[in-house]
Assembly symmetry: D3
Homo-oligomer: 313 residues x 6
Amino acid sequence: MYGKFLIFSGQSHRSLAEDICGHLGLRVGESKTIKFSNENLMVQIEENVREADVFVVQTAAPPLHQNIFELLIMLDALKSASAARVTAVIPYFPYVRSDKKDRPRISITARLMADLITAAGADRVLTMDLHAAQIQGFFRCPADQLQAINLMCDHLKRRDLTDAVLVASDAGEAKDVARYTNRLDLPMAIIDKRRDGDDEEPRAAHIIGDIKGRSCILVDDEIASGGTLLRATELLLERGAREVCGVATHAVLSGRALERIQSSPISEVIVTDTIPIPQEKRIDKLKVISVARMLADAIRSIHDGTSVSALFR
Amino acid sequence: MYGKFLIFSGQSHRSLAEDICGHLGLRVGESKTIKFSNENLMVQIEENVREADVFVVQTAAPPLHQNIFELLIMLDALKSASAARVTAVIPYFPYVRSDKKDRPRISITARLMADLITAAGADRVLTMDLHAAQIQGFFRCPADQLQAINLMCDHLKRRDLTDAVLVASDAGEAKDVARYTNRLDLPMAIIDKRRDGDDEEPRAAHIIGDIKGRSCILVDDEIASGGTLLRATELLLERGAREVCGVATHAVLSGRALERIQSSPISEVIVTDTIPIPQEKRIDKLKVISVARMLADAIRSIHDGTSVSALFR
Amino acid sequence: MYGKFLIFSGQSHRSLAEDICGHLGLRVGESKTIKFSNENLMVQIEENVREADVFVVQTAAPPLHQNIFELLIMLDALKSASAARVTAVIPYFPYVRSDKKDRPRISITARLMADLITAAGADRVLTMDLHAAQIQGFFRCPADQLQAINLMCDHLKRRDLTDAVLVASDAGEAKDVARYTNRLDLPMAIIDKRRDGDDEEPRAAHIIGDIKGRSCILVDDEIASGGTLLRATELLLERGAREVCGVATHAVLSGRALERIQSSPISEVIVTDTIPIPQEKRIDKLKVISVARMLADAIRSIHDGTSVSALFR
Amino acid sequence: MYGKFLIFSGQSHRSLAEDICGHLGLRVGESKTIKFSNENLMVQIEENVREADVFVVQTAAPPLHQNIFELLIMLDALKSASAARVTAVIPYFPYVRSDKKDRPRISITARLMADLITAAGADRVLTMDLHAAQIQGFFRCPADQLQAINLMCDHLKRRDLTDAVLVASDAGEAKDVARYTNRLDLPMAIIDKRRDGDDEEPRAAHIIGDIKGRSCILVDDEIASGGTLLRATELLLERGAREVCGVATHAVLSGRALERIQSSPISEVIVTDTIPIPQEKRIDKLKVISVARMLADAIRSIHDGTSVSALFR
Amino acid sequence: MYGKFLIFSGQSHRSLAEDICGHLGLRVGESKTIKFSNENLMVQIEENVREADVFVVQTAAPPLHQNIFELLIMLDALKSASAARVTAVIPYFPYVRSDKKDRPRISITARLMADLITAAGADRVLTMDLHAAQIQGFFRCPADQLQAINLMCDHLKRRDLTDAVLVASDAGEAKDVARYTNRLDLPMAIIDKRRDGDDEEPRAAHIIGDIKGRSCILVDDEIASGGTLLRATELLLERGAREVCGVATHAVLSGRALERIQSSPISEVIVTDTIPIPQEKRIDKLKVISVARMLADAIRSIHDGTSVSALFR
Amino acid sequence: MYGKFLIFSGQSHRSLAEDICGHLGLRVGESKTIKFSNENLMVQIEENVREADVFVVQTAAPPLHQNIFELLIMLDALKSASAARVTAVIPYFPYVRSDKKDRPRISITARLMADLITAAGADRVLTMDLHAAQIQGFFRCPADQLQAINLMCDHLKRRDLTDAVLVASDAGEAKDVARYTNRLDLPMAIIDKRRDGDDEEPRAAHIIGDIKGRSCILVDDEIASGGTLLRATELLLERGAREVCGVATHAVLSGRALERIQSSPISEVIVTDTIPIPQEKRIDKLKVISVARMLADAIRSIHDGTSVSALFR
């Protein structure tokens, strides 16, 4: 269908792009991003892309807005350089939690991101574990969403799950946790949170379901500052859990998240590398599972026109 | 901002349109829908709409696809008749549960609906209780979403809620139920369902949370065939609930739903009139709360340019 | 140009899709349409369509709006499943007679249909005998229009046409009839109709042209309820025609059309199978000519990139 | 609804724009069109149009393509100068007969024109007597189509119509002629034309209907070179017509049309001023009826938001 | 035309927004921007904007990409909150020098910015001194461009200009400098630069025009790192200029620009406040002219629908 | 990537299309343009173009607007005839100097042209020496811009350039001239023009840079009426230039340009054939360099998907 098969990388997560290319027997396409003193970026694609099937790997990592913009510029440069098809490969989609209008006069920014990415020239998008399944409907172009659940469950199954229980850190996560309970055939519990007023932070009221003496696995789609995860861990232990570990696809780990994890009673945190985690951040408690092969398989499948869903059955 | 203020009605729910107009001191705009022997519809708007601020009330009631097309045709006719602004008022949005791609090669039909409605000429949409909050992001035009929760809670508060518990019929509903628990300051329980295989129907495995001896309030956004609701009712009673009632905004009540409700042990089902429920269907167990005033208030607010969110605080 | 060559069928006319596939040596693509109790449809495409050249066969047959909607859902599902090109094959185009604004504030619904079909994802359209040639200009995508006139004339030529005359049932049909007169080298007559008021039905005033003692062939693009055709037949016989037969591409045959044809003095009605005519409806007077090969040839031509117009010269 | 009410004129038919403004008590808006030596046009709008309701009068008169581009440039200039709404008033729409694809690989140029006019910035269009009613469906913006039939019939009624017959110059015109027969309660006749081959010019074969000894009124939408009209006149007189006159909205009168009319046996040709007819061309046989008031009434109605269709009932 | 008149401010240059509001007798609209630990922004518009005429002031100042996204998010929030019209007021337009494709496979990022701003919901744009006049053609919406030249010349005229010469720092600036020479009736000189290879930095070769013993005024549209300006100053002084000062609308002043200016032999640098210059950066050599009144006048003019160009004649 | 490789030609410059085809070993595609008496054009593409990679050669030559329109019709006809990709090859782009809004309420017509060309169906554009590099940003589709500078410099280098100086006819051209100075390693001079009032023509005030006794080469992008070129020539000779020649890519040569060149003291004018220059116009002083091979190379490169920029390094 298409000519050359090329994968370019923005600056947000070059090692992931290299790993993906490694699995595919390709090298990362030549491009150069210069940042001028006025912060302006200049991206030059340094090889011919006419009629090529091009993939650009960029993830929502810091510096966040610069990286989003670098992606938009690359899409524009590739499209106007006559690439036949440009696929934005965005393992962690930016602003994925701004997916609804839960207060007046705010932006559904995940939808805005989808619009900007197509306005800049993306013909398709490949992403992973969106905060809500409905977000796939925000894209005007074909969008494939991969899920880390298989990788995660494979890892979890190596543990002793005899008395394990999967825990949702609030009711909103129950749906996602249910996918794990089904796969692992484990019971579920939910931390019931309440708000005292519209602008108040929710506080954990009690725990629905049985966690006493059990090994709790907290499941979430992302860990940002770690606050939610660690408060839940403390609550579970207080209420009698034997042990707590956490599972989350996207390791944002902003602010002092790593220090807090390290010093908290949580036993392990299992994440993927959709966001770069440099070697010095890979503390003992953090188990990082690579999504590079999964992304590589999906990219090859998109390029070859074979079924992506068949890959992950 | 706009000239005349006009409200038209499709054929799906004329009494609601009349109730809305009643609250606003308007009459329903003149229009005529003819159905030819080949099923083709011909809608003629029978009053001048140039530069008018027009609202069209149509809901996702049977005959579903004919009603969808009547709406699309009305939008097109109004727009090409030079209405200044056309707002589609769709209390129950069609295909609202087709909001994600949970199996390969299906359509996110709620997104398609949003696209068709704007393609036909709608400048804005007013709807109620979408299955997921993210669906608001499917619209390319401004879309207001009203919520029946206040009306529902006002009604529930009249009951004795001493030992009541709010129940989600599966983990996916937990988030919506949490909004009720917060408002009513009641505990929550969740029916934990499992699938034995990808294509299997989920079956209720057990109940998370305490329901024994309690009055259970099952909360959902819609009741279609009633199967989910009634199976949950039976399970809850089996497991020791004292009594079960149901709350759902959209009373689809398809197939033999009403008969099943009538003959089931459920004590009451509280719904709204986003979908027409003719007098003969208004059985004792069914409590129907009207959304006409809420919609009328929102329509006036949209017409006047005052804050819709302020209305419902 | 494209990868796999696939033809899917909606539910409106599966036998035609099968006949087309038969001519092409293909099987109909695997897909499944489920109708839920709330009338919602769920279409699942059951084979990989990535980068494929896909055709979807659906015609404007009852249940009309459900079938149109099934087509829109299939287009959306195919497009978001990454089909390279999706062609909507619509032998009888819906709302084809709603092609002008002949009264105030109505919708040009054929144009709306064209817009909805492209909004849902069609890259091109293949259709037959549009009510007016101008309708081709309603499409924003390439649209091929086939004509049944050759098939019809081949059939008519087998009859004794010595004293035959082609008759337009009103002045608006004269243009189409003229194409037949030219092809068959026969004279023409026109039934001159008048309206007594804007909202009155037109009534046949007199006949322009010579039909006395002649065999009359009434030509139209479609037969809906049959009223126009049979009233014209009676008039022609009253005014001295020896015999009357009818020719029309699209056999809508709504309401009691078949019974009325059977009991009328018309001798034969020649139609095509752009709309399904089940065996039990194939009464003696009805001669059904298949368009399956013509559509198959055009589809192959579109797939191969050869000239469609050359096919029908 | 809108601010200032302004009417600008291109160079194609300034006197019509002035007549329209006269009826409305406005002056033609200030603008200047310069043509450089390289044929490039530069249009400057010379008064403030911000937030104004602007109409631009331009018709399809020679130099045709320069006039089309002057219109497109004016629309662009007005829109980018922040006019609130721009209505293109195009009494004779360019390329109106290129409305279908009657041979392979041609452009439906009337549709292209509609697209170009909206691409250049028109928010709506006001035009007259399109060659086919379906053309209204080519516009993506609201489009009003006025009809000269009332003006024409008022004029014809002043004649003695006792033995008159309305004649269509070929079958394609029969539909339009039928509108006149109904209005004037007169009989109809049709000139039956045949082509000997696909690329041959059609030749008049015979006349359907009775014209002997009658006064024939040939009705068409436009007169270009006059060939069709004058050949029909000769044929009708040959076959025994007592007298022939012609009626056509758009007086293109290209090439030697006027001389041919003057020297032909046709008694009168009734046209409108949708295209400029300078005084020296207003020969005796030509009766020119002004559409200025009709256009002025429609423009005022569009500006005021009152019903345009009501004007012409 | 519009309802309420509201001006909101992003975080890039709140003092300018306040100055503009001061001139207009308005207060800055209430809005709140929160930055989460994962860098995500959440903007909430805190007053009703339905049907309002809204302006958002944001300039291309550091942190550049965060400010761009804050603007895009605000536009989206305002538009989906039903503002009637949203004007992006962007005194210094981001990426304004990325306005052409002067090497292969780069993005014309100024065009991309224009597209993103309209994709996010801006109905119009107000900006100042674009790097090239052609950039105005990048916008699909009406865009007003103001020019600081009048303010600058008023300031320069207060100096003794007897022996002054305006100098372009390279041939590309000659066109802009010519606008000053004409206004001030002064001679011009140009620094002629050459590149030794495609990827080499250009070096000043010689000076075209007479600068010996003269007071040189270097004119540019922006000062980024100051390198160009200060190298030109040194060259001019070397070649015999008596004195050098600089004029530039946009004071980017990135990196060590201010220190370099302070310690350089340049006598004065005249800039505007399109970019914030905090008090501590306002060194003696820097003369800052405010554009707040000019922007305020233009905003009022846009709101009132009066001529913006008339303001600046 | 694409099927057949076809090049069609409009009527503006058929000999260039033939020369391009000659270099590519192709024949010009069969098409026919008919001009009716009412000036309407009818273009028929006379060979199958389904799935083909089609190029259409048309330049901005007289009759200008007819030629632009012929191009738009051809693009529309090709696209609706299912060409896979249509590239408009426009050596001299129409309205290229209407590229900015240098007075109020005018159209940036070059941008409008870009919009019309994409609205009509062009998938990409190939053009040469746009008046300003920024114009490339006007296109929504990929647009390649070739430059004649290499051809021109190759020609100039054959002359004795010992004492040559490159001259810009006003400050606006300095940037373009600088590209030549760099390539040829020659000095530059600029004619400094002033306007006495906004609506006055600019007059040459003096010359910046040294031209005395030198051979002057005036560089511009186009020669229209020749006024600018010849007035500059006279001025240069008056001020002591030894000799003057001119270089310009686009030889518009409108009005009496050729006669004026012939009778002027200019020694030579070097142009290309982006605009047709018939044999009788090829006067001695005019040196015409063909761009056919350059365009042919670029077209082949676009078709093959190889780098166009690599061609011209």
